[in-house]
C-alpha cells in the first residue's frame, strides 16, 4: 500500500485550472518534496490531500483511504503543519498542545505524556505555562510542529517548515525530521528552500502551472540537466570587472556574482577554465580559487519551471 496515491487529480476554480491531471505516489517512510513556484498548485494539492478541498476530477488515497469518501479515516493518520504557525496566541503552549490532542482524539493520559515529551523535544517545556503571544517566531514554529505530532501520525504534511527561522529552531526541526524518517514516518514536504529539499528528500516532485514537471530523486533530477555546469571563480582584485568581461565569452551561457565570487554557467567547463586563466594573466588579477560545479536542484527547478534567473551582469536567462 502507498502512503499517498494521487491519480489524475484536477481542480478548477471557475475558469482557473489549479491542478491538471496530477498523478504521483508517495511510499511509506519516504520523505517526499513538493516544489513549485508560487501559484503552481502546491497549496491546492495539500488542501485536497488533507480533505479540506474536494477535487473536481481524479482521486487521492491516504494509506488506502479515499480522501473524499473516507476523509476522517484518512485524517486520523495525518499530522499537518501549515506554513503559517497557526497557534492560539491567547492560550499557553500547554493549552495549545492539549487542544490539538483533543481534536485528534488522543486520550487524556496519552496526550499529557506525549505533550510533555514533545514540548521537551522542541525546547518549550520550561515555557509551557506562558501565553504563546510572547513567543518568538521560531518558538511558535516549533510549537506548531509539536501540535502536528501529538497524534503520532504516520504521515506528516510539512508546509515550509523552516522558512525564515533562527538557527536554533532550524536545527531542532531538522533533528526531529531525521528522527521521524528513522521511525519510518512518511513526510510530505513543501518548501521554497530547494537546498533543504535536496538534503532532506528521498524524491521530489516539481509542479508548475498545475502540472507535474518531474518526479525523481534529487540526484537523478540533477543528472537530467548535466549541460548546466558552472565554474565558480574568485579573483584577488575583486570580481565586478571580471564578471563584465567573462560573461561575454562565447561558451558562457549565464553569469552571476555570488558574494566575492563569480559563477559562470557553461557546457564546456574545460575551455572556460583556460579562458579564465588567460583573463587572470592579461589583467594581472590573480585567481584566488576556481571550482567546477555540477547542476544543483535549484538549476533543475529553474529549468523545469521556466523561471528566469536574474543575473548580476544585467541580463536574464531562462
Amino acid at each position: 500500500m502507498h502512503a499517498i496515491e494521487v491519480k489524475n487529480l484536477t481542480k478548477r476554480f471557475g475558469d482557473i485550472l489549479a491542478l491538471d491531471k496530477v498523478s504521483f505516489t508517495v511510499e511509506v517512510g519516504e520523505v517526499f518534496g513538493y516544489l513549485g513556484p508560487n501559484g503552481a498548485g502546491k497549496t491546492t494539492t495539500i488542501r485536497i490531500l488533507t480533505g479540506i478541498t474536494t477535487p473536481t476530477e481524479g482521486s487521492a488515497t491516504v494509506f488506502g483511504s479515499d480522501i473524499v469518501r473516507e476523509t476522517i479515516k484518512a485524517r486520523r493518520q495525518m499530522g499537518i503543519v501549515y506554513e503559517t504557525s497557526n497557534v492560539y496566541d491567547d492560550l499557553s503552549a500547554w493549552q495549545n498542545i492539549m487542544f490539538a490532542g483533543e481534536l485528534y482524539n488522543v486520550g487524556k493520559r496519552d496526550r499529557e505524556i506525549r505533550g510533555k515529551e514533545l514540548l521537551e523535544l522542541f525546547g518549550l517545556w520550561e515555557r509551557r505555562a506562558t501565553r504563546v503571544h510572547g513567543f518568538s517566531k521560531g518558538m511558535k514554529r516549533r510549537l506548531t510542529l509539536a501540535m502536528g505530532l501529538i497524534n503520532n501520525p504516520q504521515l506528516l504534511f510539512l508546509d515550509e517548515p523552516t522558512s525564515g527561522l533562527d538557527v536554533q529552531s532550524n536545527l531542532i526541526i531538522r533533528d526531529v525530521l531525521h528522527d521521524l524518517t528513522d521511525r519510518k514516518v512518511t513526510v510530505f514536504l513543501t518548501t521554497h528552500n530547494i537546498e533543504e529539499a535536496n538534503i532532506t528528500c528521498d524524491r521530489v516532485a516539481i509542479i508548475n502551472r498545475g502540472r507535474i514537471a518531474a518526479i525523481d530523486s534529487p540526484e537523478r533530477l540533477k543528472k537530467t540537466i548535466q549541460s548546466v555546469q558552472s565554474v565558480e571563480v574568485a579573483f584577488e582584485n575583486g570580481s565586478t570587472e571580471a564578471l563584465a568581461d567573462l560573461e561575454r565569452l562565447p561558451m558562457v551561457s549565464e553569469a552571476k556574482k555570488e558574494g566575492d565570487k563569480v559563477r559562470l554557467y557553461t557546457e564546456d567547463p574545460g575551455s572556460l577554465l583556460k579562458e579564465i586563466m588567460a583573463y587572470a594573466d592579461t589583467h594581472h588579477n590573480r585567481l584566488v580559487s576556481a571550482t567546477t560545479l555540477g547542476p544543483t536542484l535549484e538549476d533543475v527547478f529553474i529549468r523545469l519551471t521556466g523561471l528566469e534567473r536574474r543575473m548580476k551582469g544585467g541580463g536574464r536567462s531562462e
Binding site: I52, I72, V87, Y88, L91, F99, E102, L103, N105
Partner: protein, 252 residues
C-alpha cells in the same frame, strides 16, 4: 465501516466539539467586543424600550431575557471565526479528523453557554428588583436552552461567510437580529401587531422562544408550548444544516 469505529468516531466528535467550545470560552468570553455586543447592547435596548412605556418594568423581563439570549448567543462565533481565519487557526479545525457538524456544534456551544450565563442577569434582576414570579420554571429553562441553541447556531451560520473581519459578519447579522426584536413579540406584543407583522413573526425563531419564556412568567402565550418547542428544534436543525453546507461550500 464497523460499529466499533462508528462509536469511537462519535466519541471523538463529542470530545472535539467540547474542546472547541472550551477553547472559545478561554479565549473570547472576556473580549471587550463580546461583552459590549452580548451584554451591554441588549441591556441598553431594554432601557430604551422601558423608558417609553407606561407599564410595570417587571412585565418586560421575559422580553429582556429573549433579547439578551438573541444577542449574547449569536455574538461569539461572528467574532471568533473571522479572527481565527485571519490567524489561520480555523484551518486547524477544518483539517481535524472530525465532521463539519462537530465543528459547527463546538463553535455554537460556546455561544450557547455564554448566553445561558448572561440570561441569569435579567432573571435575577426580575426576581430581586421587580419581584417577578416564575410560575413555570421548567418552561423557562426549556425556553432559554432552546432559544440559546437556536441563535448560537445562527451565529455560527453567519460566521461561515468567508471574511477575516468580524465587522463584516456583525453588520450582516445585525440586519437580521435588529428586525427580529420588533417582529417577535419581545417588547411589542404579537396581539397588537398588524396582520402582516403577525405573519412575519411566524418566520422568526425568536417569536417561539419569547412565547415560551413569556408563558413561563405567566404572561399570555400566543402558541402552545409544544409548538414553540417544536419550532425552535426545527429552526435549530435548519440552521445546523445550512451552516454545515455553507462551511463546506466556502472552504472548497
Amino acid at each position: 465501516m464497523n460499529e466499533e469505529w462508528r462509536k469511537d468516531q462519535l466519541s471523538a466528535e463529542a470530545v472535539a466539539a467540547w474542546a472547541i467550545a472550551k477553547k472559545d470560552i478561554t479565549i473570547y468570553y472576556l473580549k471587550p467586543n463580546i461583552i459590549v455586543a452580548g451584554l451591554l447592547f441588549p441591556l441598553f435596548m431594554f432601557l430604551a424600550f422601558a423608558a417609553g412605556k407606561n407599564v410595570a418594568l417587571g412585565i418586560l423581563i421575559p422580553g429582556l431575557i429573549s433579547v439578551t439570549i438573541l444577542f449574547s448567543s449569536s455574538t461569539i462565533e461572528p467574532v471568533s471565526i473571522p479572527i481565527e481565519r485571519r490567524t489561520k487557526t480555523f484551518e486547524r479545525l477544518l483539517s481535524a479528523p472530525v465532521s463539519l457538524h462537530a465543528i459547527v456544534i463546538g463553535e455554537s456551544l460556546s455561544g450557547f453557554m455564554y448566553s445561558i450565563g448572561i440570561a441569569l442577569f435579567p432573571i435575577i434582576l426580575g426576581l430581586i428588583v421587580f419581584n417577578t414570579a416564575i410560575p413555570s420554571p421548567l418552561q423557562l429553562i426549556a425556553g432559554i436552552l432552546l432559544t440559546a441553541l437556536c441563535f448560537s447556531t445562527m451565529g455560527t451560520l453567519f460566521a461561515a461567510y468567508p471574511t477575516e473581519s468580524p465587522g463584516d459578519i456583525m453588520s450582516m447579522l445585525n440586519l437580521v437580529r435588529l428586525p427580529l426584536i420588533f417582529v417577535s413579540g419581545t417588547f411589542i406584543p404579537l396581539n397588537v401587531m398588524p396582520p402582516i407583522g403577525k405573519v412575519i413573526s411566524l418566520l422568526s425563531p425568536l417569536t417561539y422562544g419569547n412565547d415560551l419564556i413569556q408563558g413561563a412568567y405567566g404572561q399570555p402565550s400566543f402558541f402552545h408550548p409544544f409548538l414553540d418547542v417544536s419550532m425552535l428544534v426545527l429552526f435549530f436543525i435548519i440552521f445546523q444544516f445550512i451552516a454545515h453546507w455553507l462551511y463546506k461550500r466556502f472552504n472548497d
